[in-house]
Protein backbone atom coordinates (compact mmCIF):
# COMPACT_ATOMS: atom_id res chain seq x y z
CA UNK A 1 0.00 0.00 0.00
CA UNK A 2 1.10 3.53 -0.68
CA UNK A 3 2.12 6.21 1.73
CA UNK A 4 -0.73 8.54 2.66
CA UNK A 5 -1.28 11.54 0.38
CA UNK A 6 -1.00 13.88 3.34
CA UNK A 7 2.63 12.81 3.70
CA UNK A 8 3.42 14.23 0.24
CA UNK A 9 1.15 17.21 0.67
CA UNK A 10 2.52 18.33 4.02
CA UNK A 11 6.09 17.93 2.83
CA UNK A 12 5.36 20.41 0.06
CA UNK A 13 3.80 22.90 2.45
CA UNK A 14 6.34 22.58 5.24
CA UNK A 15 9.19 23.50 2.94
CA UNK A 16 7.33 26.38 1.31
CA UNK A 17 10.18 28.83 1.82
CA UNK A 18 12.60 26.79 -0.23
CA UNK A 19 9.97 25.69 -2.75
CA UNK A 20 8.54 29.17 -3.23
CA UNK A 21 10.88 30.11 -6.09
CA UNK A 22 10.13 26.87 -7.90
CA UNK A 23 6.38 27.31 -7.48
CA UNK A 24 6.74 30.83 -8.85
CA UNK A 25 8.78 29.61 -11.82
CA UNK A 26 6.21 27.01 -12.73
CA UNK A 27 3.45 29.57 -12.22
CA UNK A 28 5.19 31.84 -14.71
CA UNK A 29 5.48 29.11 -17.34
CA UNK A 30 1.82 28.18 -17.00
CA UNK A 31 0.83 31.84 -17.03
CA UNK A 32 2.66 32.54 -20.29
CA UNK A 33 1.26 29.38 -21.85
CA UNK A 34 -2.37 30.01 -20.86
CA UNK A 35 -2.25 33.71 -21.69
CA UNK A 36 -0.84 33.27 -25.18
CA UNK A 37 -3.26 30.45 -25.94
CA UNK A 38 -6.15 32.57 -24.67
CA UNK A 39 -4.99 35.33 -26.98
CA UNK A 40 -5.07 32.90 -29.89
CA UNK A 41 -8.50 31.66 -28.84
CA UNK A 42 -9.75 35.26 -28.66
CA UNK A 43 -8.46 36.11 -32.12
CA UNK A 44 -10.06 33.06 -33.64
CA UNK A 45 -13.33 33.76 -31.88
CA UNK A 46 -13.40 37.40 -33.02
CA UNK A 47 -14.39 36.59 -36.58
CA UNK A 48 -15.34 32.95 -36.32
CA UNK A 49 -18.64 33.43 -34.57
CA UNK A 50 -20.01 36.14 -36.82
CA UNK A 51 -23.04 35.73 -39.05
CA UNK A 52 -26.65 34.62 -39.01
CA UNK A 53 -27.32 31.18 -40.52
CA UNK A 54 -30.38 32.60 -42.35
CA UNK A 55 -28.44 35.35 -44.12
CA UNK A 56 -26.73 35.28 -47.47
CA UNK A 57 -23.73 37.43 -48.21
CA UNK A 58 -22.94 38.64 -51.72
CA UNK A 59 -19.56 39.97 -52.83
CA UNK A 60 -17.88 40.39 -56.17
CA UNK A 61 -16.63 37.20 -57.73
CA UNK A 62 -12.93 36.83 -57.02
CA UNK A 63 -12.93 39.03 -53.94
CA UNK A 64 -11.79 37.20 -50.87
CA UNK A 65 -13.04 39.90 -48.54
CA UNK A 66 -15.95 42.25 -48.37
CA UNK A 67 -13.67 45.28 -48.08
CA UNK A 68 -12.01 44.53 -51.41
CA UNK A 69 -15.26 43.91 -53.26
CA UNK A 70 -17.14 46.29 -55.53
CA UNK A 71 -20.77 45.87 -56.65
CA UNK A 72 -22.71 48.24 -58.88
CA UNK A 73 -25.98 49.95 -58.01
CA UNK A 74 -27.62 48.32 -61.04
CA UNK A 75 -27.02 44.96 -59.41
CA UNK A 76 -28.80 46.18 -56.29
CA UNK A 77 -31.75 47.49 -58.29
CA UNK A 78 -32.17 44.15 -59.98
CA UNK A 79 -31.53 41.78 -57.11
CA UNK A 80 -33.74 43.52 -54.57
CA UNK A 81 -36.81 42.44 -56.54
CA UNK A 82 -35.92 38.74 -56.50
CA UNK A 83 -38.93 36.91 -55.06
CA UNK A 84 -36.64 34.67 -52.96
CA UNK A 85 -35.89 37.63 -50.69
CA UNK A 86 -38.09 37.99 -47.61
CA UNK A 87 -39.96 41.25 -47.00
CA UNK A 88 -40.55 43.08 -43.75
CA UNK A 89 -43.97 44.14 -42.48
CA UNK A 90 -43.79 47.33 -44.54
CA UNK A 91 -43.30 45.20 -47.65
CA UNK A 92 -39.69 46.19 -48.21
CA UNK A 93 -37.21 43.50 -49.30
CA UNK A 94 -34.79 42.61 -46.52
CA UNK A 95 -31.51 43.43 -48.23
CA UNK A 96 -28.72 45.68 -47.10
CA UNK A 97 -26.20 47.13 -49.51
CA UNK A 98 -23.14 48.04 -47.48
CA UNK A 99 -20.11 50.16 -48.19
CA UNK A 100 -16.85 49.49 -46.41
CA UNK A 101 -14.29 52.21 -46.03
CA UNK A 102 -10.97 52.15 -44.22
CA UNK A 103 -10.29 55.35 -42.33
CA UNK A 104 -7.19 56.36 -40.50
CA UNK A 105 -8.00 57.64 -37.00
CA UNK A 106 -5.85 58.85 -34.13
CA UNK A 107 -5.59 56.65 -31.06
CA UNK A 108 -6.80 58.02 -27.77
CA UNK A 109 -3.42 57.54 -26.08
CA UNK A 110 -1.71 59.68 -28.68
CA UNK A 111 0.47 56.81 -29.84
CA UNK A 112 -0.32 57.41 -33.48
CA UNK A 113 -3.02 56.35 -35.86
CA UNK A 114 -4.65 53.11 -36.89
CA UNK A 115 -7.00 51.91 -39.57
CA UNK A 116 -10.64 51.50 -38.63
CA UNK A 117 -13.25 49.71 -40.68
CA UNK A 118 -16.22 52.00 -41.37
CA UNK A 119 -19.40 50.27 -42.54
CA UNK A 120 -22.01 52.24 -44.39
CA UNK A 121 -25.10 50.21 -43.75
CA UNK A 122 -28.52 50.40 -45.47
CA UNK A 123 -31.62 50.65 -43.28
CA UNK A 124 -32.22 46.87 -43.36
CA UNK A 125 -28.60 46.17 -42.35
CA UNK A 126 -29.25 46.60 -38.64
CA UNK A 127 -32.27 44.26 -38.70
CA UNK A 128 -30.21 41.63 -40.51
CA UNK A 129 -27.62 41.58 -37.74
CA UNK A 130 -29.52 41.11 -34.49
CA UNK A 131 -26.33 40.23 -32.58
CA UNK A 132 -25.29 43.85 -32.95
CA UNK A 133 -26.94 45.81 -30.14
CA UNK A 134 -26.91 49.45 -29.29
CA UNK A 135 -25.44 49.79 -25.79
CA UNK A 136 -25.46 53.57 -25.49
CA UNK A 137 -26.89 56.57 -27.34
CA UNK A 138 -29.00 56.00 -30.45
CA UNK A 139 -28.67 54.77 -34.00
CA UNK A 140 -27.58 57.16 -36.75
CA UNK A 141 -30.18 59.11 -38.74
CA UNK A 142 -30.07 58.40 -42.50
CA UNK A 143 -28.80 61.36 -44.45
CA UNK A 144 -26.80 62.77 -41.55
CA UNK A 145 -23.13 62.55 -40.75
CA UNK A 146 -23.74 60.55 -37.64
CA UNK A 147 -21.82 57.49 -36.61
CA UNK A 148 -22.19 54.61 -34.14
CA UNK A 149 -18.84 53.24 -32.95
CA UNK A 150 -17.98 49.91 -31.37
CA UNK A 151 -18.08 50.22 -27.59
CA UNK A 152 -14.98 48.05 -27.41
CA UNK A 153 -13.07 50.56 -29.52
CA UNK A 154 -14.47 53.55 -27.71
CA UNK A 155 -11.54 53.99 -25.36
CA UNK A 156 -8.97 53.05 -27.97
CA UNK A 157 -9.59 55.99 -30.30
CA UNK A 158 -9.74 59.72 -29.73
CA UNK A 159 -13.15 61.43 -29.64
CA UNK A 160 -15.18 58.23 -29.68
CA UNK A 161 -17.32 59.38 -26.76
CA UNK A 162 -20.99 60.00 -27.43
CA UNK A 163 -21.51 63.61 -28.49
CA UNK A 164 -17.90 63.99 -29.57
CA UNK A 165 -16.92 64.36 -33.20
CA UNK A 166 -13.95 63.41 -35.33
CA UNK A 167 -12.76 63.99 -38.85
CA UNK A 168 -12.60 61.18 -41.38
CA UNK A 169 -11.89 61.80 -45.04
CA UNK A 170 -13.15 65.28 -45.74
CA UNK A 171 -16.05 65.26 -43.33
CA UNK A 172 -16.72 65.63 -39.63
CA UNK A 173 -18.73 62.88 -37.97
CA UNK A 174 -20.60 63.10 -34.72
CA UNK A 175 -20.69 60.03 -32.52
CA UNK A 176 -24.31 59.32 -31.55
CA UNK A 177 -24.10 55.79 -30.16
CA UNK A 178 -22.06 52.75 -29.13
CA UNK A 179 -22.67 49.29 -30.51
CA UNK A 180 -21.77 45.89 -29.15
CA UNK A 181 -21.15 43.07 -31.59
CA UNK A 182 -21.37 40.32 -28.98
CA UNK A 183 -17.86 39.08 -29.66
CA UNK A 184 -18.32 39.10 -33.46
CA UNK A 185 -16.31 40.84 -36.16
CA UNK A 186 -18.69 43.82 -35.89
CA UNK A 187 -16.96 44.70 -32.62
CA UNK A 188 -14.17 46.05 -34.78
CA UNK A 189 -16.40 48.32 -36.91
CA UNK A 190 -18.06 51.72 -36.91
CA UNK A 191 -21.45 52.02 -38.56
CA UNK A 192 -23.13 54.86 -40.42
CA UNK A 193 -25.72 55.42 -43.12
CA UNK A 194 -24.73 53.76 -46.42
CA UNK A 195 -25.77 56.58 -48.76
CA UNK A 196 -24.13 59.21 -46.59
CA UNK A 197 -21.01 57.10 -46.51
CA UNK A 198 -20.95 56.79 -50.30
CA UNK A 199 -21.32 60.52 -50.78
CA UNK A 200 -18.71 61.51 -48.19
CA UNK A 201 -16.13 59.07 -49.48
CA UNK A 202 -17.18 59.47 -53.13
CA UNK A 203 -17.97 55.83 -53.66
CA UNK A 204 -20.24 55.00 -56.51
CA UNK A 205 -20.16 51.30 -55.78
CA UNK A 206 -21.24 49.11 -52.90
CA UNK A 207 -19.00 46.55 -51.21
CA UNK A 208 -21.47 43.82 -50.33
CA UNK A 209 -25.11 42.86 -50.08
CA UNK A 210 -26.59 41.02 -47.17
CA UNK A 211 -29.88 39.27 -47.89
CA UNK A 212 -32.51 37.39 -45.86
CA UNK A 213 -34.25 34.80 -48.08
CA UNK A 214 -37.84 33.73 -47.37
CA UNK A 215 -36.87 30.28 -46.24
CA UNK A 216 -34.30 27.53 -46.61
CA UNK A 217 -35.42 26.41 -50.08
CA UNK A 218 -35.59 30.03 -51.26
CA UNK A 219 -32.03 30.43 -49.98
CA UNK A 220 -30.85 27.49 -52.06
CA UNK A 221 -32.63 28.84 -55.11
CA UNK A 222 -31.25 32.32 -54.53
CA UNK A 223 -27.68 31.00 -54.29
CA UNK A 224 -28.13 29.08 -57.53
CA UNK A 225 -29.68 32.05 -59.28
CA UNK A 226 -26.83 34.44 -58.45
CA UNK A 227 -24.30 31.80 -59.38
CA UNK A 228 -26.01 30.98 -62.68
CA UNK A 229 -26.53 34.53 -63.91
CA UNK A 230 -23.43 35.45 -65.89
CA UNK A 231 -24.28 39.17 -65.93
CA UNK A 232 -23.74 39.60 -62.20
CA UNK A 233 -20.19 38.29 -61.71
CA UNK A 234 -21.15 37.93 -58.06
CA UNK A 235 -20.50 35.33 -55.44
CA UNK A 236 -23.24 34.47 -52.94
CA UNK A 237 -22.73 32.33 -49.89
CA UNK A 238 -24.15 31.88 -46.41
CA UNK A 239 -23.03 34.69 -44.12
CA UNK A 240 -21.69 32.24 -41.52
CA UNK A 241 -19.76 30.47 -44.25
CA UNK A 242 -18.23 33.75 -45.38
CA UNK A 243 -17.06 34.65 -41.88
CA UNK A 244 -15.78 31.15 -41.19
CA UNK A 245 -13.42 31.64 -44.14
CA UNK A 246 -12.45 35.05 -42.80
CA UNK A 247 -11.47 33.55 -39.43
CA UNK A 248 -8.03 34.84 -38.70
CA UNK A 249 -5.55 32.16 -38.12
CA UNK A 250 -3.88 32.50 -34.77
CA UNK A 251 -1.39 29.75 -35.59
CA UNK A 252 1.71 31.93 -35.14
CA UNK A 253 0.60 32.95 -31.65
CA UNK A 254 -0.25 29.37 -30.72
CA UNK A 255 3.11 28.30 -32.03
CA UNK A 256 4.88 31.04 -30.10
CA UNK A 257 2.96 30.11 -26.95
CA UNK A 258 3.92 26.47 -27.26
CA UNK A 259 7.52 27.28 -28.05
CA UNK A 260 7.94 29.70 -25.15
CA UNK A 261 6.23 27.30 -22.77
CA UNK A 262 8.51 24.46 -23.78
CA UNK A 263 11.66 26.57 -23.53
CA UNK A 264 10.65 27.92 -20.13
CA UNK A 265 9.52 24.54 -18.90
CA UNK A 266 13.02 23.16 -19.40
CA UNK A 267 14.14 25.69 -16.83
CA UNK A 268 11.17 24.87 -14.61
CA UNK A 269 11.93 21.15 -14.75
CA UNK A 270 15.47 21.82 -13.55
CA UNK A 271 14.20 24.13 -10.82
CA UNK A 272 11.78 21.44 -9.67
CA UNK A 273 14.56 18.86 -9.83
CA UNK A 274 16.82 21.05 -7.75
CA UNK A 275 14.13 21.62 -5.15
CA UNK A 276 13.30 17.94 -4.97
CA UNK A 277 16.95 16.91 -4.69
CA UNK A 278 17.40 19.31 -1.79
CA UNK A 279 14.17 18.30 -0.11
CA UNK A 280 14.80 14.58 -0.52
CA UNK A 281 18.48 14.87 0.38
CA UNK A 282 17.52 16.39 3.72
CA UNK A 283 15.18 13.46 4.31
CA UNK A 284 17.42 10.50 3.54
CA UNK A 285 17.15 9.06 7.04
CA UNK A 286 13.40 9.57 7.02
CA UNK A 287 13.19 7.57 3.80
CA UNK A 288 15.38 4.87 5.35
CA UNK A 289 13.00 4.77 8.32
CA UNK A 290 9.99 4.34 6.04
CA UNK A 291 11.70 1.41 4.36
CA UNK A 292 12.54 -0.14 7.76
CA UNK A 293 8.84 0.06 8.58
CA UNK A 294 8.19 -2.02 5.47
CA UNK A 295 7.39 0.50 2.73
CA UNK A 296 8.64 -0.61 -0.66
CA UNK A 297 10.89 1.35 -2.98
CA UNK A 298 8.00 2.01 -5.32
CA UNK A 299 5.84 3.42 -2.50
CA UNK A 300 8.62 5.85 -1.68
CA UNK A 301 9.07 6.80 -5.35
CA UNK A 302 5.33 7.28 -5.74
CA UNK A 303 5.06 9.51 -2.67
CA UNK A 304 7.97 11.65 -3.88
CA UNK A 305 6.57 11.91 -7.42
CA UNK A 306 3.22 12.98 -5.99
CA UNK A 307 5.09 15.53 -3.93
CA UNK A 308 6.75 16.95 -7.05
CA UNK A 309 3.45 16.94 -8.92
CA UNK A 310 1.66 18.72 -6.07
CA UNK A 311 4.40 21.31 -5.88
CA UNK A 312 4.03 22.00 -9.59
CA UNK A 313 0.25 21.90 -9.37
CA UNK A 314 0.30 24.73 -6.85
CA UNK A 315 2.44 26.69 -9.33
CA UNK A 316 0.01 25.76 -12.09
CA UNK A 317 -3.01 26.93 -10.12
CA UNK A 318 -1.29 30.24 -9.38
CA UNK A 319 -0.34 30.66 -13.06
CA UNK A 320 -3.86 29.84 -14.27
CA UNK A 321 -5.38 32.09 -11.63
CA UNK A 322 -3.29 35.06 -12.68
CA UNK A 323 -3.92 34.36 -16.38
CA UNK A 324 -7.66 34.22 -15.65
CA UNK A 325 -7.54 37.85 -14.51
CA UNK A 326 -7.09 38.68 -18.18
CA UNK A 327 -10.17 36.72 -19.23
CA UNK A 328 -12.51 39.05 -21.15
CA UNK A 329 -9.92 41.79 -21.35
CA UNK A 330 -10.27 43.52 -24.70
CA UNK A 331 -7.26 44.19 -26.82
CA UNK A 332 -6.57 44.64 -30.51
CA UNK A 333 -4.37 43.48 -33.31
CA UNK A 334 -4.04 44.38 -36.94
CA UNK A 335 -6.15 42.30 -39.31
CA UNK A 336 -4.22 40.76 -42.16
CA UNK A 337 -7.02 41.24 -44.67
CA UNK A 338 -7.80 44.94 -44.26
CA UNK A 339 -4.91 46.10 -42.09
CA UNK A 340 -7.55 47.56 -39.83
CA UNK A 341 -7.73 47.26 -36.10
CA UNK A 342 -9.38 44.01 -34.96
CA UNK A 343 -10.54 44.01 -31.36
CA UNK A 344 -10.89 40.77 -29.46
CA UNK A 345 -11.00 39.42 -25.93
CA UNK A 346 -8.53 37.19 -24.12
CA UNK A 347 -10.52 34.00 -23.85
CA UNK A 348 -9.35 31.76 -21.01
CA UNK A 349 -11.40 28.62 -21.54
CA UNK A 350 -11.70 25.80 -18.97
CA UNK A 351 -9.94 23.60 -21.49
CA UNK A 352 -6.94 25.95 -21.59
CA UNK A 353 -6.76 26.00 -17.80
CA UNK A 354 -6.87 22.20 -17.71
CA UNK A 355 -4.07 22.10 -20.28
CA UNK A 356 -2.04 24.52 -18.17
CA UNK A 357 -2.50 22.39 -15.06
CA UNK A 358 -1.62 19.17 -16.85
CA UNK A 359 1.42 20.91 -18.22
CA UNK A 360 2.45 21.95 -14.71
CA UNK A 361 1.99 18.44 -13.34
CA UNK A 362 4.14 17.04 -16.13
CA UNK A 363 6.88 19.52 -15.26
CA UNK A 364 6.65 18.43 -11.61
CA UNK A 365 6.74 14.73 -12.43
CA UNK A 366 9.68 15.17 -14.76
CA UNK A 367 11.57 17.25 -12.21
CA UNK A 368 11.01 14.81 -9.34
CA UNK A 369 11.64 11.62 -11.28
CA UNK A 370 15.43 11.41 -10.95
CA UNK A 371 15.61 12.60 -7.33
CA UNK A 372 12.91 10.09 -6.31
CA UNK A 373 14.50 7.16 -8.05
CA UNK A 374 17.90 8.00 -6.65
CA UNK A 375 16.53 8.25 -3.11
CA UNK A 376 14.77 4.92 -3.40
CA UNK A 377 17.86 3.18 -4.81
CA UNK A 378 19.85 3.83 -1.64
CA UNK A 379 20.10 0.68 0.53
CA UNK A 380 18.05 0.91 3.72
CA UNK A 381 21.09 0.67 5.94
CA UNK A 382 22.94 3.45 4.12
CA UNK A 383 19.88 5.68 4.25
CA UNK A 384 19.51 5.10 7.99
CA UNK A 385 23.12 5.98 8.70
CA UNK A 386 22.96 9.30 6.87
CA UNK A 387 22.74 12.34 9.08
Amino acid sequence: MALPLRYSFRNVLIRWRSTFATVLGIALVVFVFVLLQSLAAGIEKSSGNTGDPRNIMIVRKGSTAESASLISRENLREIQYFEEIARNDRGEPIISADVLVLVNLPRSDGSGEANVLLRGVSPRGVELRPQVRLVAGRWFTPGKREIVVSSRMANRFANFGIGQSFKAGTANFIVVGWLDGGGSAFDSECWMDADECRSVFERDLYSSFLVRPVDESAATKFLERIEADRRFKLKAEKEVEYYRKQTMTAAPIKWLGGFLAIMMSVGAVFAAMNTMYASIGARTREIGTLRVLGFRRRSVVLALLIEGALLALIGGIVGCGVAYLWNGYTTATMGFETFSEIVFEFTVTPRLMAEGLIFAVLVGLLGSFLPSVRASRLPVIAALKSV
Binding site: M1, L3, P4, Y7, E286, L293, G294, F295
Partner: protein, 226 residues
Protein backbone atom coordinates in the same frame (compact mmCIF):
# COMPACT_ATOMS: atom_id res chain seq x y z
CA UNK B 1 14.64 -24.72 29.44
CA UNK B 2 11.25 -25.05 27.88
CA UNK B 3 11.07 -21.48 26.53
CA UNK B 4 11.60 -21.66 22.76
CA UNK B 5 14.25 -19.58 21.04
CA UNK B 6 13.03 -16.71 18.92
CA UNK B 7 16.44 -15.84 17.45
CA UNK B 8 19.06 -18.40 16.46
CA UNK B 9 22.41 -17.13 15.18
CA UNK B 10 25.15 -19.47 14.00
CA UNK B 11 28.68 -18.56 12.92
CA UNK B 12 27.57 -15.20 11.72
CA UNK B 13 30.12 -12.88 10.11
CA UNK B 14 29.87 -9.49 8.51
CA UNK B 15 32.68 -7.90 6.59
CA UNK B 16 32.81 -4.51 4.99
CA UNK B 17 35.17 -3.93 2.14
CA UNK B 18 36.62 -0.44 2.23
CA UNK B 19 38.87 -0.08 -0.77
CA UNK B 20 41.78 -2.45 -0.14
CA UNK B 21 41.05 -3.23 3.49
CA UNK B 22 38.45 -5.58 4.87
CA UNK B 23 36.71 -4.43 8.02
CA UNK B 24 35.33 -7.28 10.06
CA UNK B 25 32.29 -5.96 11.89
CA UNK B 26 31.14 -9.36 13.16
CA UNK B 27 33.29 -12.46 13.45
CA UNK B 28 31.76 -15.90 13.89
CA UNK B 29 29.02 -14.90 16.26
CA UNK B 30 26.70 -17.62 17.58
CA UNK B 31 23.83 -16.66 19.84
CA UNK B 32 20.39 -17.84 20.99
CA UNK B 33 17.76 -15.46 22.26
CA UNK B 34 14.74 -16.86 24.06
CA UNK B 35 11.20 -15.59 23.70
CA UNK B 36 10.35 -12.88 26.23
CA UNK B 37 13.95 -12.04 27.01
CA UNK B 38 15.11 -8.46 27.49
CA UNK B 39 18.61 -8.82 26.10
CA UNK B 40 21.07 -5.96 26.33
CA UNK B 41 23.97 -5.73 23.93
CA UNK B 42 27.03 -3.91 25.20
CA UNK B 43 30.54 -3.20 24.03
CA UNK B 44 32.87 -0.45 22.94
CA UNK B 45 32.24 1.75 19.96
CA UNK B 46 32.82 -0.05 16.68
CA UNK B 47 32.49 -3.49 18.23
CA UNK B 48 29.62 -4.45 15.89
CA UNK B 49 26.57 -4.00 18.13
CA UNK B 50 24.53 -2.05 15.60
CA UNK B 51 25.57 -4.39 12.82
CA UNK B 52 24.30 -7.41 14.76
CA UNK B 53 21.06 -5.66 15.61
CA UNK B 54 20.49 -4.69 11.97
CA UNK B 55 21.00 -8.25 10.81
CA UNK B 56 18.55 -9.59 13.41
CA UNK B 57 16.03 -6.93 12.37
CA UNK B 58 16.36 -7.83 8.69
CA UNK B 59 17.71 -4.50 7.48
CA UNK B 60 21.24 -5.72 6.80
CA UNK B 61 22.60 -9.03 5.52
CA UNK B 62 25.46 -11.12 6.94
CA UNK B 63 28.45 -12.06 4.81
CA UNK B 64 28.39 -15.61 6.20
CA UNK B 65 26.42 -17.64 8.68
CA UNK B 66 22.81 -18.13 9.65
CA UNK B 67 20.32 -15.83 11.27
CA UNK B 68 16.94 -17.44 11.96
CA UNK B 69 14.13 -15.53 13.59
CA UNK B 70 11.05 -17.59 14.48
CA UNK B 71 12.29 -20.36 12.19
CA UNK B 72 12.61 -18.06 9.20
CA UNK B 73 16.06 -17.88 7.66
CA UNK B 74 16.39 -14.17 6.89
CA UNK B 75 19.22 -14.73 4.43
CA UNK B 76 16.76 -16.60 2.20
CA UNK B 77 14.34 -13.68 1.85
CA UNK B 78 14.61 -11.24 -1.05
CA UNK B 79 14.29 -7.52 -0.56
CA UNK B 80 10.53 -7.19 -0.71
CA UNK B 81 10.19 -10.39 1.31
CA UNK B 82 12.34 -8.79 4.00
CA UNK B 83 10.30 -5.58 3.87
CA UNK B 84 7.08 -7.51 4.51
CA UNK B 85 8.76 -9.60 7.19
CA UNK B 86 10.02 -6.50 8.99
CA UNK B 87 6.60 -4.92 8.85
CA UNK B 88 4.95 -7.93 10.48
CA UNK B 89 7.63 -9.22 12.84
CA UNK B 90 9.94 -6.51 14.20
CA UNK B 91 9.55 -3.14 15.79
CA UNK B 92 12.57 -0.85 15.54
CA UNK B 93 13.47 1.90 18.01
CA UNK B 94 16.24 4.31 16.97
CA UNK B 95 18.59 6.45 19.00
CA UNK B 96 17.37 9.50 17.06
CA UNK B 97 13.66 8.57 17.31
CA UNK B 98 13.19 8.91 13.52
CA UNK B 99 9.59 10.06 13.63
CA UNK B 100 8.24 11.55 10.42
CA UNK B 101 8.22 15.32 11.13
CA UNK B 102 5.16 16.14 9.01
CA UNK B 103 2.97 13.48 10.60
CA UNK B 104 1.26 13.68 13.99
CA UNK B 105 1.95 11.20 16.76
CA UNK B 106 -1.15 9.26 15.76
CA UNK B 107 -0.20 9.20 12.07
CA UNK B 108 3.36 8.16 12.87
CA UNK B 109 2.16 5.23 14.93
CA UNK B 110 -0.39 4.32 12.26
CA UNK B 111 2.23 4.15 9.46
CA UNK B 112 3.18 0.46 9.80
CA UNK B 113 -0.51 -0.47 9.90
CA UNK B 114 -1.09 1.14 6.50
CA UNK B 115 0.77 -1.83 5.06
CA UNK B 116 -1.64 -4.30 6.64
CA UNK B 117 -5.18 -5.19 5.63
CA UNK B 118 -6.72 -3.61 8.71
CA UNK B 119 -9.55 -1.14 8.14
CA UNK B 120 -9.46 2.41 9.49
CA UNK B 121 -11.46 1.53 12.60
CA UNK B 122 -9.22 -1.37 13.59
CA UNK B 123 -6.14 0.74 12.89
CA UNK B 124 -7.46 3.49 15.16
CA UNK B 125 -8.07 0.96 17.94
CA UNK B 126 -4.57 -0.44 17.66
CA UNK B 127 -2.93 2.98 17.51
CA UNK B 128 -4.88 4.04 20.61
CA UNK B 129 -3.86 0.89 22.47
CA UNK B 130 -0.19 1.43 21.59
CA UNK B 131 -0.25 5.10 22.57
CA UNK B 132 -2.00 4.27 25.86
CA UNK B 133 0.65 1.68 26.59
CA UNK B 134 3.38 4.33 26.40
CA UNK B 135 1.22 6.85 28.27
CA UNK B 136 0.70 9.31 25.41
CA UNK B 137 -2.98 8.87 24.56
CA UNK B 138 -3.48 12.61 25.02
CA UNK B 139 -0.76 13.59 22.56
CA UNK B 140 -2.19 11.94 19.43
CA UNK B 141 -2.60 15.16 17.47
CA UNK B 142 0.81 16.59 18.29
CA UNK B 143 3.57 16.82 15.73
CA UNK B 144 7.00 15.44 16.73
CA UNK B 145 8.42 18.95 17.16
CA UNK B 146 5.69 19.67 19.72
CA UNK B 147 6.88 16.78 21.89
CA UNK B 148 9.84 16.42 24.24
CA UNK B 149 12.61 13.97 23.36
CA UNK B 150 11.33 11.44 25.85
CA UNK B 151 7.80 11.73 24.46
CA UNK B 152 9.10 11.37 20.92
CA UNK B 153 10.88 8.16 21.88
CA UNK B 154 7.73 6.84 23.52
CA UNK B 155 5.79 7.55 20.31
CA UNK B 156 8.53 5.67 18.46
CA UNK B 157 8.07 2.72 20.83
CA UNK B 158 4.32 2.83 20.19
CA UNK B 159 5.07 2.74 16.45
CA UNK B 160 7.38 -0.25 17.03
CA UNK B 161 4.75 -2.26 18.83
CA UNK B 162 1.57 -1.23 17.00
CA UNK B 163 1.71 -4.20 14.65
CA UNK B 164 2.09 -6.48 17.69
CA UNK B 165 5.46 -7.96 16.65
CA UNK B 166 7.16 -10.61 18.79
CA UNK B 167 10.50 -8.85 18.50
CA UNK B 168 11.43 -5.29 19.42
CA UNK B 169 14.96 -4.06 18.73
CA UNK B 170 16.35 -0.77 20.04
CA UNK B 171 19.68 0.83 19.16
CA UNK B 172 20.77 3.04 22.06
CA UNK B 173 17.19 4.24 22.64
CA UNK B 174 18.25 6.39 25.59
CA UNK B 175 21.37 7.82 23.94
CA UNK B 176 19.71 11.18 23.25
CA UNK B 177 17.62 11.41 26.42
CA UNK B 178 18.04 12.96 29.85
CA UNK B 179 18.09 10.48 32.72
CA UNK B 180 14.43 10.92 33.69
CA UNK B 181 13.18 10.30 30.18
CA UNK B 182 15.65 7.46 29.85
CA UNK B 183 14.19 5.83 32.98
CA UNK B 184 10.68 6.09 31.53
CA UNK B 185 11.70 4.60 28.21
CA UNK B 186 13.64 1.77 29.83
CA UNK B 187 10.69 1.12 32.13
CA UNK B 188 8.40 0.75 29.15
CA UNK B 189 10.78 -1.63 27.36
CA UNK B 190 11.07 -3.69 30.53
CA UNK B 191 7.30 -3.76 30.93
CA UNK B 192 6.93 -4.93 27.32
CA UNK B 193 9.12 -7.92 27.96
CA UNK B 194 7.90 -8.76 31.46
CA UNK B 195 4.18 -8.17 31.13
CA UNK B 196 3.40 -8.61 27.43
CA UNK B 197 6.03 -11.20 26.63
CA UNK B 198 7.81 -9.28 23.89
CA UNK B 199 11.39 -10.15 23.14
CA UNK B 200 13.43 -6.96 23.44
CA UNK B 201 16.99 -6.58 22.19
CA UNK B 202 18.65 -3.32 23.18
CA UNK B 203 22.08 -1.91 22.39
CA UNK B 204 23.41 0.39 25.07
CA UNK B 205 26.60 1.90 26.40
CA UNK B 206 25.14 2.60 29.78
CA UNK B 207 25.48 -0.12 32.46
CA UNK B 208 22.56 1.45 34.37
CA UNK B 209 20.39 0.99 31.28
CA UNK B 210 21.66 -2.54 30.88
CA UNK B 211 20.48 -3.25 34.41
CA UNK B 212 16.88 -3.10 33.16
CA UNK B 213 17.50 -6.13 30.97
CA UNK B 214 17.17 -9.76 31.87
CA UNK B 215 20.47 -10.74 30.28
CA UNK B 216 23.47 -8.86 28.98
CA UNK B 217 26.01 -9.88 26.35
CA UNK B 218 29.24 -8.16 25.33
CA UNK B 219 30.75 -7.66 21.93
CA UNK B 220 34.43 -6.90 21.44
CA UNK B 221 35.92 -6.39 17.97
CA UNK B 222 33.05 -8.27 16.42
CA UNK B 223 33.19 -11.24 18.76
CA UNK B 224 31.07 -12.24 21.73
CA UNK B 225 32.98 -12.26 25.02
CA UNK B 226 32.21 -14.02 28.36
Amino acid sequence: MSVPNIVTIRELSKEYRQGEINVTALNNVSLDIAQGEFLTLMGPSGSGKSTLLHIIAGIDRPTRGVCRVQDIDLTKLDESGLADWRNQNVGFVFQTFNLIPVLTAFENVELPLLLTRLNAKRRREQVNTALELVGLAERQKHLPRQLSGGQEQRVAIARALVTDPKLIVADEPTGNLDSNSAQEVLGILQMLSRQIGKTVIMVTHDPKAAAFGSRSIHLEKGELTN
